[in-house]
Symmetry: C2
Subunit: 348 residues, 2 copies
Amino acid sequence: MIKNDRFLRALRREPVDATPVWLMRQAGRYLPEYRETRRKAGSFMAMATNPELACEVTLQPLRRFDLDAAILFSDILTIPDAMGLGLSFAEGEGPRFARPVRTQGDIAKLAVPDMAGSLRYVMDAVSLIRKELDNSVPLIGFSGSPWTLACYMVEGGGSDNFARVKAMALDEPAALHRLLDVVTDAVIAYLSAQRAAGAQALQIFDTWGGMLAPHLYREFSLRYLQRIAQTLERGSGMDKAPLILFGKGNAPYLEELAASGAEGVGVDWTVSLAEARRRTGDRVALQGNLDPATLYASPDAIRGEAKWTMDSFGAGPGHIFNLGHGMSPDMNPDHVKVLVDAVHAFQR
Amino acid sequence: MIKNDRFLRALRREPVDATPVWLMRQAGRYLPEYRETRRKAGSFMAMATNPELACEVTLQPLRRFDLDAAILFSDILTIPDAMGLGLSFAEGEGPRFARPVRTQGDIAKLAVPDMAGSLRYVMDAVSLIRKELDNSVPLIGFSGSPWTLACYMVEGGGSDNFARVKAMALDEPAALHRLLDVVTDAVIAYLSAQRAAGAQALQIFDTWGGMLAPHLYREFSLRYLQRIAQTLERGSGMDKAPLILFGKGNAPYLEELAASGAEGVGVDWTVSLAEARRRTGDRVALQGNLDPATLYASPDAIRGEAKWTMDSFGAGPGHIFNLGHGMSPDMNPDHVKVLVDAVHAFQR
């Protein structure tokens, strides 16, 4: 049994003694101990592909802060990397693929990677983290969404305008759907394998779905999130590994996301939790949604905005406190402690 | 009388013979003739502050495309530059202020600039463009929104996270309101002077309002847009210079923007015009909202998405076709022609 099960209880919309809280990218460069591990590893990928180092950085924020969940330290681009695209991170820049997917021939060559082969290191990290956590808090596994992975695969890295993948959506929709189909199969296999290795909850990051016009979001992102939510085997009862769909800019689609079959929906800070809750009708747990930039303000302001967020959700169960997006390297760890403690001190 | 008054008629929600279209950043680096003028001028600011050159680049897209409005070529940061912040553009980078606004002392020193002095070059450009247009199409004047200008003034340039200005909003709200108050007075004076110099419509670009949480958007951005819409003198009847409030990420606030007193609301592509129209209830004209990345796709796809946008608005007057955000330097001018012609060919 998990000693602190607030996070899983909130996902089941059961009462909790205090609001559970974890923070997207809680393991990261804002922590000096992370930078030290990263320095020793030599590169980001050397750290991410080494289960011991991935375990170490996963646990670092939990030693400092009273967080209610751990999240696997990894990258959302492990799947395309295992598909043979050749992932690298240049210092101070974003991710790059040596072999982006640009043609129908490139797409035809894509296959679901072997979870026991090229992605074994992820499952080994999950198992090791579970062992080290020793049932103190639950462990969250994760994946990028099919659309978000497709963005990086087609663009070959980050992009300001998504020119190539959006042009593919309009000019070669059947080809893009083939790409998304195989990526969706891979995401399902990947999350299933993480669950088998010990992940107790699963989150999908749809970082770039909100960059699409509504009719294209529904066709190229939402459709595949729905397929995952409906077909991903994740157990039942207390053994169920609940699925959270997080998406930046997903506020226009909250009703559809709540009806997808997922147990939780993560939202960014551009919608109030009061509105999100009204529109999702308590069909799902809600996760979020403090603007991460709040951590640049003073402790008093952080406490005030955290209270605002929780007041906005209102009474009753089903809220997991989080930021509306990931943390940044220049954030102050002392402010993170202020935030976590403020969430726990709040009485609904 | 203006020969082509479709744009102004649509803003008054009167019937038009074809949907009017202009494109945000229609004068810009995607045009070879723009790059040539820019090269001769030596720098962006040398071009923007020279009325003859500003007039030349304003007119360039109208020589190529059948656009229904011209928009003053300028920068949204002319006001803070005239306030003494020292604007510059490093090659290949965004804008920079030599003297950003960080302290209460910095804010206390800010004053509304002299429209006949340090901003005279803008009014001279407006007058010259009006003369050169010879009443062929109307001329739009513009300003950045108070919040968007404050973002640049406090950050000292562009920002990924708006850490400083968001911290100021939470930690020193009274100081930020003083800054926004003087900037709002300056925006009103600036738009009034552009109208006096000949601008026949006025647009405010709230580029960064959508980065705020809803309670902070209402306090720090919307409040000042409302003040401008309610107090900016803009004539009456056929002489009225209508005001358009454009905001990236403004979809959550369409009802409030429609009730602000502005004649038009510009929206980005993350909301359908069907929904925008339903929520604004034909109280305002709607401007938008094709994803600019559509211009990277094929002519057939551009025509299809343009039709989708116009079908989404539906029957009846009050639609001005535009992109949901500005054009980019790597766009193909031939595709712009395809788009403009497709909009005009469409029969509602």
